[in-house]
Symmetry: C2
Amino acid sequence: MQYKKRTHTGGELRSSHIGQVVTLTGWVDTRRDLGGVIFIDLRDRYGKTQIVFNPKFSETIYSLAKELRTEFVISVTGKVEKRPAGTENPKLGTGDIDVLVEELTIINKAETTPFPIDDKLDTNEDLRLKYRYLDLRRAPMQANLLLRHQMYQITRRYFDEFNFIEVETPVLMKSTPEGARDFLVPSRINPGKFYALPQSPQTYKQILMVAGYDRYFQIVKCFRDEDLRADRQLEFTQIDIEMSFVDEIDIQTIVEGLMKRFMKEIKGIDVTTPFPRLTYKEAMEGYGSDKPDLRFDLKFADFSDIVKDSGFKVFAENAKKGGVVAGFAVPGGASYTRNQMDNLVDFTKSLGVGGLAYIKLTEKGIDSAIEKFLGNEICKQICEAAGAKPGDNVLVVSDAWQKTYSTLGTLRLEIAKRMNLIDENKWNLHWVVDFPMFDYSEEEKRHVAMHHPFTAPKPEDLALLDTDPTKARARAYDLVMNGNEVAGGSIRIYDSAMQSKVFGLLGIGTEEAKMKFGFMLDAFKYGAPPHGGIAFGFDRLAMLFAGVKSIRDVIAFPKTSSGISLMDDNPSEVDKKQLDELHIKLK
Amino acid sequence: MQYKKRTHTGGELRSSHIGQVVTLTGWVDTRRDLGGVIFIDLRDRYGKTQIVFNPKFSETIYSLAKELRTEFVISVTGKVEKRPAGTENPKLGTGDIDVLVEELTIINKAETTPFPIDDKLDTNEDLRLKYRYLDLRRAPMQANLLLRHQMYQITRRYFDEFNFIEVETPVLMKSTPEGARDFLVPSRINPGKFYALPQSPQTYKQILMVAGYDRYFQIVKCFRDEDLRADRQLEFTQIDIEMSFVDEIDIQTIVEGLMKRFMKEIKGIDVTTPFPRLTYKEAMEGYGSDKPDLRFDLKFADFSDIVKDSGFKVFAENAKKGGVVAGFAVPGGASYTRNQMDNLVDFTKSLGVGGLAYIKLTEKGIDSAIEKFLGNEICKQICEAAGAKPGDNVLVVSDAWQKTYSTLGTLRLEIAKRMNLIDENKWNLHWVVDFPMFDYSEEEKRHVAMHHPFTAPKPEDLALLDTDPTKARARAYDLVMNGNEVAGGSIRIYDSAMQSKVFGLLGIGTEEAKMKFGFMLDAFKYGAPPHGGIAFGFDRLAMLFAGVKSIRDVIAFPKTSSGISLMDDNPSEVDKKQLDELHIKLK
């Protein structure tokens, strides 16, 4: 197909081009026939330009133009004209001009698309994913992928400026499942053996520190074979960072610099650094989450001391045996109806606690069903501790520490949503630090690493590793943006003996540790520097900056929650010959 | 471990710092004890600095310093001093100063390393790969990885400037083996189904063009499960490019701009664009290779017409039945001894042809064993056609076209090597264009795509697809640097009917085409733009720029030719539980 190549892109022409003969190429976006003249918006990645086919100018071209349907690919040549007064389109950069077409080539035709190429598309997502090449033509999707492009460039320029070295780590790595499941890749040359896709390049980046690279970064694909939740993909992208001879503050400072640049270049917002730091304990006891959304307040108060000698047995006994009675004041919540409160109580119970108590503070005083157990004075103390003002409603949960706070955390978000307390134009960034080293997994009957097995304990908690490991805190930190964990990292262990000790606490025996991580334990014997790092969830960060609700909207070719690519019907069955060569068969 | 953090890096201190108290961190590189004083070169990624422990200054620090061994990680604080006259080290940027140590912390000790951390290391590669974290400490390896880093940044800045959009394509893609074997990844959620790792993101980048992205690039990992040759890896890196509304020249021009920038920023060399273009036919008939090394001449001449009526039956009959008699003049080759010639004849025969004839042109005239068959006059004509001068030696091969030229091509390289004709400081860049569409595979008894199945035929050769497909030329082009193919690309088919036709010629039936590539054939029906692209072999390019002989020297964690990572013993056996979950078992 012969066609004239473009002289300008679809977003380029302005009044200053009037009178020039230009050639444009692109897709037929919309077509209007008005008074015997055909008007078409010609679209490409760069914008739209109105082109005009006038039979008075050329009957031949006009006739050919009548064949044009949406999504035809064409090349047109013509003169740039000023649009008649009153017909300008201020929404388009090119809205002051149009092009009167003198030559038209239909480069490729298009069948009727299964959905229109509209900015606001109302169709089911499966259809969008099946015809992803059409979905990706829509302006909002193109904006999302361009945002991703911009984020890639900002990230790399930033780390390059700060002397970080970009290193590609292997995709075919060793299987060391710890936490999530590995994707496995059978080796043809080594029968019975398997590679694994990286859940993260953690071991490699630490090896690079041992190798003296000092500052490493990479934007890297990682893989977790987990059951997909709404906001997860089997493969996802991380900004991966590691530094030597540093402490937590050094790493956090580098990260704050990057976030500052993102906010400035993408959102045009100046953010102040350093970001506030909350300990894990403060975050949980204040907001019931290790990634609290601080765009709104609703901070918790602990009522345990107030109620522990009260006549309300449920509270008193829980407080005495080390549980927590805590809650927060809902501003204006005294106006909640009986119905609204019943609904909230049910919601809270569905989270697995016994119930939700509440104390309304009205102009007349306390209004609460539990006043008769607690007494008026204690109710007042609770309201005061919660900072309640007349018209507020203090919600109270009583259970074990973890359960009380996580329930209150969910309740806090729910209240914020119901009362519309979240300002979507606000950007809140803060750190959560001093996470516990371990969680005790009831399921596996062992300690599991809260961050990962390479995280260093806080020096002042070293003794706790021998006495009460669950109390030991880690040199771990998460970056939280608007209630989302966008990055998580830690200072690492760099000593063979300490690493072996932590493996032991995690129930990884000496033999297993040697088999899986022997090379790291060895590496630490040849002069390992102190080091630490962090990794960003790139997809989620892009989603937040794009202001969309699904990470699938910022990924070019995502998979469904069943791990399927609907466009190309992937995964698929393969030839028996392929499996034979890989020394495997189906079960 | 408490230690003082560095104030400067190991390559930073200069005379201007004399008198300042500084802190450095790093590795003990070399240690000398001289006149009761200990001198250590402290090393980090940025350079080396000499630090001095003098018992006269501090007996305590000096005693501690005696414990220091190579590769210990330390932090030292002290005053920057001018080195005594005559002890400066002009090889180091820091060679005018040293640091008299006042404080020393041993941060981490090191066992004796299995090989020294020397620039010129003489040990076997397996040991280097096993202790990669030590190998990567060596300055030449750090320089190679820094070069890679630089190449990444140059590439991305370049494409960003030219409005290309960086898009990440999936790693878990559909298995469509065509050419090389796929790596397969069993799906846990979809029993009996498999993902494949991309051999290239070819289909995705074409889909992005259909989606209107106009200009795409990505630095991307690709995977081929092939038996490894010296300079191949199971996973390798490509610079991947695709553009819409373009022809060959547009793509080549963009690529030339990138190469120009690489050469300037990495090598400090200005190269002239456009690069010369040779057709595949010219390359084969002139230099016997589709990636000829043009840093030296030794161009071939075709003697078929000269010899076809001669009395030398071997030549005459081959020429008459359509074969080729061709060769080239070796400058000064008339001085080759009988022994050298026998050796060359054997070398040539080992390539699979019947023999090698030669005609020496001396000051006295022709000196050749075949003169008695060809006659003096024809021998002279051959010498003249080859451009031989007295003292030269014309080597002649007679066989079918392909065999003759590929043999001569190998011979040409061998002669260049033996006669030291290649100037390693020269950089030669050129294009080879107009490749055939198809190769006929005797093994598979079918046509195979010379480039790949999505490559468009040249418009003037369309008719040949029906009559003599092997004669049809493709809109394909390779970029050749110093005899290496560093990039290869083509203008693509963008029409469903033509794509189906080419699939058919490749023996891919309608059903199979639909199953494997149905989504592309569909996509082409909804308004596909003309497009084309190219992909660079990034590892090989880095190898050439680094001036090293193996791509393993420019890859942080390469695998051996058996696909094994010696450092972490990968691939490895996995738990039966893992295989059960993936619905597979070992054969």
